[in-house]
């Protein structure tokens, strides 16, 4: 049987990808950030899964305003790194796991979560930056990846509670897959940031750190936080944090926190990162 062994949460700031790709990781500005992921890369080398179920959001890359799926699961064999306007990132092609993805899609839809199934999709920094942070710069990604895109671009995104419950449905789906796969679930995006308007640059360390506490220890309560609290307190783009609740819903009620990191700033954004192991 497949089983979820761990969850990883991380921000997916595009400038982090650019810093990696341009060899700037040792610069004074970036070094403290990458230092926070040193442990993570070691942990990942010792705990490389067969499949990562990677929750992220598309940033007007694969989805224009023509189609805006709230939840979209990538069921393809592979996914190309997207050209977001300055050429694709020089990272490996992302290999999918069509059998597990199809199984999850069917199971989760029958659990009342109406996913959009995507068989062709380029993946942007929202997906590739977390891979780079956790795996470094290999020739090939060391595992399969199922991209799971959540709409957080056009308001309203799904509620925190909806995301949390969806995570539980994904857990049941993965638990019922016959092949013996080691699966991790990643939740990405956030933390506090605002990229638009005169309030751009908003950072809320108190909100972020409380969120990091609560997602580990009291996710049931955290899931009840309404959208308006995220938007007001963590910035218009801080609402990406609801995606972390999908990850948390798929983990055990009690988890072991093996790593926690928080850093301000990466460009416009507060960076948060957790590694949580199931018992």
């Amino acid at each position: 049987m497949a089983r979820i062994t761990a969850g990883v949460a991380t921000s997916h700031v595009p400038a982090i990808g650019a810093a990696l790709d341009l060899g700037k990781t040792q610069e004074a500005y970036w070094a403290p950030l990458f230092k926070g992921y040193e442990f993570s890369k070691q942990w990942m080398a010792a705990n490389t899964p067969d499949v990562v179920f990677l929750v992220y959001n598309d940033h007007a890359t694969a989805f224009s305003l023509d189609f805006i799926p709230t939840f979209a699961i990538g069921c393809a064999e592979e996914f190309q790194p997207a050209d977001e306007g300055w050429g694709p990132r020089p990272v490996p092609v992302v290999k999918g796991h069509p059998e597990l993805a199809a199984h999850i899609a069917q199971s989760v839809i029958q659990s009342d979560f109406d996913l959009t199934i995507v068989n062709r999709m380029d993946v942007d920094h929202g997906l590739t930056v977390p891979l780079s942070l956790m795996f470094g710069q290999p020739q090939e990604w060391p595992c399969k990846v199922i991209p799971f895109a959540v709409n957080v671009v056009q308001y309203p995104p799904p509620s925190g509670m909806r995301c949390y419950q969806l995570g539980k449905a994904i857990r049941r789906a993965i638990d019922s897959f016959d092949a013996g796969l080691n699966v991790q679930i990643w939740g990405t995006g956030g933390m506090s940031h605002q990229l638009q308007g005169p309030r751009a640059g908003l950072i809320n360390k108190e909100f972020d750190n409380r969120f990091l506490d609560r997602i580990v220890n009291e996710p049931d309560e955290l899931a009840k936080v309404p959208h308006i609290d995220y938007v007001r307190e963590a910035g218009s783009e801080g609402i990406e944090l609801v995606m972390w609740l999908i990850m948390r819903g798929a983990l055990d009620a009690k988890v072991r926190q093996v790593h926690r990191f928080y850093h301000v700033p990466a460009s416009n954004t507060a960076v948060g990162h957790l590694i949580l192991e199931n018992s």
């Binding site: 595009p14 400038a15 940033h59 007007a60 890359t61 224009s64 305003l65 023509d66 997207a82 050209d83 977001e84 306007g85 300055w86 671009v153 056009q154 308001y155 309203p156 506090s192 605002q194 990229l195 638009q196 308007g197 005169p198 309030r199 751009a200 640059g201 908003l202 950072i203 809320n204 360390k205 108190e206 909100f207 959208h227 308006i228 938007v231 007001r232 307190e233 910035g235 218009s236 783009e237 301000v264 700033p265 460009s267 416009n268 507060a270």
Partner: protein
């Protein structure tokens, strides 16, 4: 019955909701077209002619030509779509964010390095003070937020 929009009074913030999305459909689709290298070339060669190929309002076209991102957002633009415009110009998110706050990029970078813009003054309805010497992040563009 009108939808409840509790986010409409957040200072210096326009939430890209269904109404804004409808208003900005062609503006955003134009911006997204710049993900293709050949479209970037055609746009750079003659911006006005390229814009005229899209069913955008004259206000939207003028805002693009002026690279007035706050105005584009007021007219239905979304930052992730508009990012294709400043990427075409070779500019970063940080450049665009600084521009929208009215600060120099240097001052904006300093603000971020010192912890970012304070979340105090989030409640709306009162005039928030700026924490960094830039333009006040209050409702000074409210008149441009056509959805109020």
């Amino acid at each position: 019955m009108a939808l409840d929009k509790p986010y409409s009074n957040i200072p210096g913030t326009t939430i890209f909701d269904a109404d804004q999305s409808r208003r900005g459909y062609w503006l955003n689709q134009f911006a997204m077209s710049l993900m293709k290298a050949e479209n970037r070339e055609r746009f750079k060669a003659n911006e006005r002619a390229y814009l005229d190929e899209w069913k955008m309002s004259e206000d939207q076209k003028q805002a693009v030509l002026a690279r007035d991102y706050n105005r584009m957002i007021a007219l239905g633009g979304n930052i992730y779509f508009l990012a294709k415009i400043f990427a075409t110009d070779g500019k970063s998110f940080q450049y665009a964010a600084a521009l929208m706050t009215g600060m120099s990029q240097e001052d904006y970078v300093k603000m971020m390095l010192s912890g970012g813009r304070s979340p105090e003054s989030n409640s709306g309805g009162r005039s928030p003070e700026n924490n960094s010497g830039g333009r006040s992040p209050d409702g000074s563009v409210t008149g441009e937020k056509s959805n109020g």
